[in-house]
Amino acid sequence: MSRMGRARVRVPETASRGEVIEIRTMVEHPMDSGFLHNNMGQPIPRHIVETFTCTYNGSEIFRARLHPAVSTNPYFLFHTVATETGELVFTWKDDQGGVATASARIEVS
């Protein structure tokens, strides 16, 4: 498994049942598009995060397929309905076998 940078997520610690919450995510990754050359004129091979998913108590609530035009350190902000207390798990996978994960707990009352 190749190294992947730190992942950061922001999820509200508490929410009311039924509330739409905002989730912010970012992972450190070069997102080398494969279209650039280094200062020696050699092509920089493509190295990008290809998939990003989020599960909420095991159910997938968000999935993104990324192409080379997503910026360095991919950032996504999305929403979900707070249904129950539990855990959100975030997973990023790149095209060289790299995986990064993060998780966050939310109390729903």
């Binding site: 279209f35 968000f62 993104a64 192409h67 035009a69 997503v70 999305f78 929403h79 249904t83």
Partner: protein, 149 residues
């Protein structure tokens, strides 16, 4: 007289043609984007509307362009957005991201940061659960090229 009406008709036709040419870019796809849209959506009609695409009209750097896509949808099990796609036809690869959503998201809205290689029209397409396609387009001017794309 007969000649005159013929000329008038010709002029009217020309004017209509000119209007078509002027109006066309509002819905026209770039040459690079058309095959990508066909591959994803076949011959299904892409309507304009329901989708709001927020991008800076003038992006200082094409490397990090903030984007927000939202879709006017109740996000109920009966009526929701199942996918959102973002495209930049002039980028080396027109597809930027494809996102899957559902009623559990509560709202059909997401933000990210993307690379726009050159000044161009950026397009967002939403696929609803009834498989209708809705879109919005924004012209973005890039002063420093996002050559990382």
């Amino acid at each position: 007289m007969k000649l005159d009406t013929g000329r008038r008709r010709a002029l009217q036709a020309l004017a209509a043609g000119a209007c078509l040419v002027i109006v066309r870019p509002a819905t026209a796809e770039s040459e690079e984007l058309a095959p990508v849209l066909r591959e994803l959506f076949g011959d299904r009609r892409i309507e304009q509307g329901k989708v709001t695409l927020d991008l800076p009209r003038l992006a200082e750097s094409g490397n990090v362009v903030p984007v927000t896509v939202s879709v006017d949808s109740p996000m109920t099990p009966q009526d929701y957005v199942k996918r959102i796609h973002l495209f930049a036809g002039e980028n080396p690869q027109p597809r930027i991201f494809d996102v899957e959503l559902g009623p559990h998201n509560g709202v059909a809205k997401l933000s990210s940061r993307v690379r726009i290689s050159t000044s161009q029209r950026v397009m967002a397409v939403a696929v609803l659960n009834d498989d209708t396609l809705w879109s919005a387009e924004v012209d973005v001017e890039v002063t420093v090229t996002g050559c990382g794309t």
